[in-house]
Amino acid sequence: MFDVGNVLMMVERVIAILGTTIYLIFAVVIVKQVTTMTHQIKDKFNGILIAFSYLHLLFSLLLALLSWTLL
């Protein structure tokens, strides 16, 4: 039997998983971007910025893993 509730849940799940995966790719791009920028311009806070970009990537990975396992 065709259940609208189930289909909606499936759509939500697909959107969430797809969204978090795209976000994970975006986080990798940010790391790449910060690395390129800090390579071009050297300043006092470059280390902190690199650390933040990796921290962001770590949380994005956590979010993606949560969405893949919880949903």
């Binding site: 940010i30 071009q40 050297k42 979010l63 949560l66 919880l70």
Partner: protein, 233 residues
């Protein structure tokens, strides 16, 4: 034969070594920069108060990839901090967003796992938004060295623009401050007309544009003088 621990006391060779070093330095660097002019420039520019300043005078840590070894950075500029106020306010509003939504009981109907994931996603997006804005500000730099003016700009994620003009190529420098905010907080635009391939360099929203104009005029005059001297020799 026993040798003394301090060789200089036995055979002082400081003078010879020093003169060799100086000679090497002059041949490597070319014409040494006039220290009087340098002092004048620093007198106009003043001092930097903190490392995150938008007006870094004679920065010790700051450098850029295309910099020559002997090139001295006189000042590194970023857009004035006032240009950051807009996105900081938006980031604060975004941070407070979930609290407001919770207090209005708008998402109470959603399952807990969706609420957790949604919250985490929202805060990460907020962080990414603020981080991107900060990066755009931090890496949008204008540099004046003792040889050239440089504009380094990262337009979007991985797009870098590098423009430069030798000081001798500068033809005209003008500054512009538009509106109450720029006048009150003393920031604005500096337009540098050059005879180089890129005929205009624009420093947007930089602090103390009048000081930059003065410094560039001074440096340009010095370059002109050097050119005249070179011709008469």
């Amino acid at each position: 034969m026993n040798r003394s621990g301090n060789l200089d006391t036995v055979a002082p060779d400081d003078q010879i070594t020093e003169s060799l070093k100086t000679e090497k330095k002059i041949t490597e660097l070319g014409e040494p920069v006039d220290p009087e002019l340098r002092q004048k420039v620093y007198d106009i520019l003043g001092h930097t108060k903190h490392a995150l300043s938008a007006f870094l005078v004679r920065p010790h840590v700051f450098s850029f990839k295309e910099r020559d070894e002997e090139e001295e950075i006189l000042v590194a500029l970023r857009p004035h901090w006032m240009t950051n106020v807009g996105w900081i306010l938006i980031a604060i509003a975004m941070t407070l967003g979930p609290t407001l939504i919770k207090s209005l009981a708008l998402i109470n109907g959603l399952p807990a796992k969706y609420q957790i994931l949604g919250g985490l996603f929202w805060y990460l997006t907020t962080f990414a938004f603020a981080f991107e804005k900060f990066l755009s500000w931090y890496f949008d730099v204008y540099i004046i060295t003792d040889e050239r003016v440089v504009d380094i700009d990262f337009n979007n994620l991985l797009n870098k623009k590098f423009s430069e003009a030798k000081l001798s190529m500068i033809q005209d420098v003008t500054s512009r401050q538009i509106g109450m905010g720029q006048t009150m907080f003393n920031y604005g635009q500096v337009l540098i007309q050059t005879a180089a391939e890129i005929n205009e360099l624009r420093f947007d929203n930089i602090p103390n544009p009048d000081k930059i104009v003065k410094v560039l005029q001074l440096m340009r005059e010095e370059e002109d003088m050097e050119a005249i001297k070179g011709r008469t020799k």
